[in-house]
């Protein structure tokens, strides 16, 4: 069974241009769920050029890093949509009927899903 662990980070909803210009730091993995919505996998404090930004600690995602072989074995058979060719790339959609996200980089992929669905995803990816 695929082991899923809590992926801690920061959830930031702000004006797209403020997110574009944000100094995330080199080590941060920044996943843009939407133009105005970012999930930053890093323990950072951020100062944005948007006084109305919503910034919140996020502990509601579980997931794990997969090798390309893991991805092919565990995940790809359960996806009905095409994976993007470009790397890095964020892909979002149902995996085995569970809403999930993939952060695809060269050689490894971060699989994310809401913790509320973790049991379903683990069960279905067996």
């Amino acid at each position: 069974m695929l082991a899923l662990e809590v992926i801690r980070g920061l959830r930031v909803v702000a004006a797209p241009e403020a997110l574009d210009a944000a100094p995330w730091g080199e080590d941060a993995v920044v996943l843009r769920f939407a133009a105005d919505d970012a999930f930053v996998v890093a323990a950072i404090e951020i100062d944005l050029a948007d006084e109305h930004a919503i910034i919140a600690d996020e502990t509601a995602f579980v997931g794990g890093w997969l090798t390309d072989d893991d991805l092919d074995e565990w995940v790809v058979p359960h996806i009905e949509w095409p994976l993007p060719d470009a790397r890095p790339a964020l892909a979002q959609g149902f995996i085995a009927g569970v809403p999930a996200k993939l952060w695809l980089t060269d050689g490894r992929t971060l699989l994310l899903c809401p913790a509320a669905y973790a049991h379903e995803l683990s069960e279905r990816l067996r």
Binding site: T59, A60, P77, A116
Partner: protein, 734 residues
Amino acid sequence: MTDGRRFVLDGRPILYEDGDSVAVATLRAGEHPQHGGTICLAGDCGNCAAVVDGVAYVRTCQTSARPGLVVRRHPEVGEPELPVVETMPASRIRVRREQADLVVIGAGDSGTAAAENAERQGRTVTVLDAHRGMEVVAIYAGPTIIVRTLGGMLHVNAKAVVVATGAAELHPVCPGSSLIGLVTARAAQQLHAAGVDLGDAVAVGSAPSGVPCTPLRGRLLRIEGDSRVTGVVMADDTSDDERTTACDTVILGLGSSARDLLSRMSGDLPVTVVGSAADTFPLPDCPTTGTVCPCSRVSVEDLEGVWERGFRELELVKRASLVGTGTCQGSVCLPYVRAFIADRIGEVPDPFTARPASRQITLAEAAAGVHIDAFRRTPLHDEHVALGARMDRFGGWWRPWDYGDHVAEYWAVREAVSLGDVSTLGKLVVSGPDAVEFLERLYPTTVADIRVGRSRYALLLNERGHLMDDGMICREGESRFVLTFTSAGAGHAEMWVRDWVETWGLGVHVLDRTMSLAAINVTGPLAGELLRRVGLTAQPRFLQHVRAEVAGVPCHVMRLSFTGEMSFELHHSVDRSLDLWRALMAHGRDLGIAPHGLQALQALRLEKGNVIVGMDSELDSTPRRLGMDWAVKMEKADFIGRSALARTAQLPDDRRLVGLTMPGTAPIEGSPIWFDHQVIGHVASSFRSPVLGHAVMLGWLKRAPFPDQVEVDGRPASVVRPPFYDPEGTRARA
């Protein structure tokens, strides 16, 4: 011959040669895969379908012979028995998924040319052909092509599809068409090439090249024999004289029809049909006697019967006679049925509608790769189970229905303190310079006058003024709010909020925290005492909310009440929920703390007359009908649903949600409400109140004038104004 390679047909071993299909090997052994009928060896008809390894309706001409295969012929009369499955199969049917620019169905000349042409253009091409073990059974929107393979199912998402499935050969419609010894011309060539002895063969129509046979002239009248063919009777084209020719095999070269089932299934999808599948072939002569549809055993006489009964369109003829509804889905009979109708109305009808699946597939194959709805778990799920909760699905979540004794849970709330897991509530953060303006437009209540640190109950209405959801508006700052929604309505509410932000073009950010934040409702007269013990000394008053640490867990504490007792909702990060729950349970032990499930909660809120959206409300429930006009501020300039409410306020009040009480047990929910020997409504929620000692209900009266006394469950009931319990709200505000 490959020694020792055998499969089993009806309990007898059948030798086969390399490359044989089950049908070819069966014919080589002098048997028929069924009990008679024309063999096409192309997968077009159902005349070779059998039970293969327990699966019925498998075309044996498309099934490669392999050692140990167990084949049973379908019964001569009736249908094959359904398999008895006592346990779930140990292994699931796997689904492989592929993407392609182009899918080509059919690897004949036309298909190969289309594939090569696409590849030259740099497109990725997947070629699917039944003879290569890739049997296409459906084309769905996408387009998504569903394929049955030996290794499981294959789902291919394509940008475009080329159907190059060729043409099917016509079968005969005449007396004797169900005998053993009939093959189409192309099947005869296959059998001859495979070394199968056809005996004395005659050819009707176009004779196949290379196959030893005697061509016959004239019109086919009938085929003679008992179970096997012994002769064929032809009529002279000019004189109508009959001539009988003795034979073992009748080879039928009667013409073709487009094999277009898949293309007809594809509707407006980007599907191109090429080659013979796109050709228009002449229809056969109108049949006058014999079996038109061997799959559903429909004769010409049956067609004439439904025609006489007035079914004169192709789709109606199909439904009335069941022609074309069997194994081959019209491949054999459709040309003849069209000819039958064309002969009577003078024009050729279009083919009937084609729908998936074009081939018989098992339920397991159809369901392969399909997942049922995923239900969410709160971070306390395992804790509930450990506490003996009965979990069930509500509003997309697993939630505790009870912990074994819902009445004891009820009393814990009314007399002591109790915890409820309300993590499932919808939670949105709204922030921005236009946040107040946005919420004023969104809600029928006023928002600008909510002070920071205060909250207000609010209805969510659609443009027709009908209730969609309800919840709280909590003001956290001048331009920042937290909105809550019902568990079942949260997803739709989020979509609704985002849609209106975009529609109005207002400066508002929205973040859905429903799955990020858990929430525990601490409720009961001793709730304040419990929270003091775990560090919440500066407690918010009714409808206030604060940020504070509770048992060391940062919480957003909202003071409100759904149960009718003092209640504090503790919203907190999902990863701290178990810590908080256990700390509260431990510190409340001597206060009589117990968790409560949904069953107790529904009773508690019913005593307060609090509506559950979707349970007590209907799709067209307005605030007036619900008796909740107090939550609507018509003096506001505008809000969603305002103009509809202003208009409907002028109409007669003919529907109302009311409170009902009666002695004794509570009627079941849904019970009709009677007045003057007529049903005038129904019970929406019902419960026998332990604290009041009688039944309390919410119910709809749908006929004005509204009576004060009605009858429910054969007993008198009084119409009253809720709440039934603590109408002044002193306990909630304590």
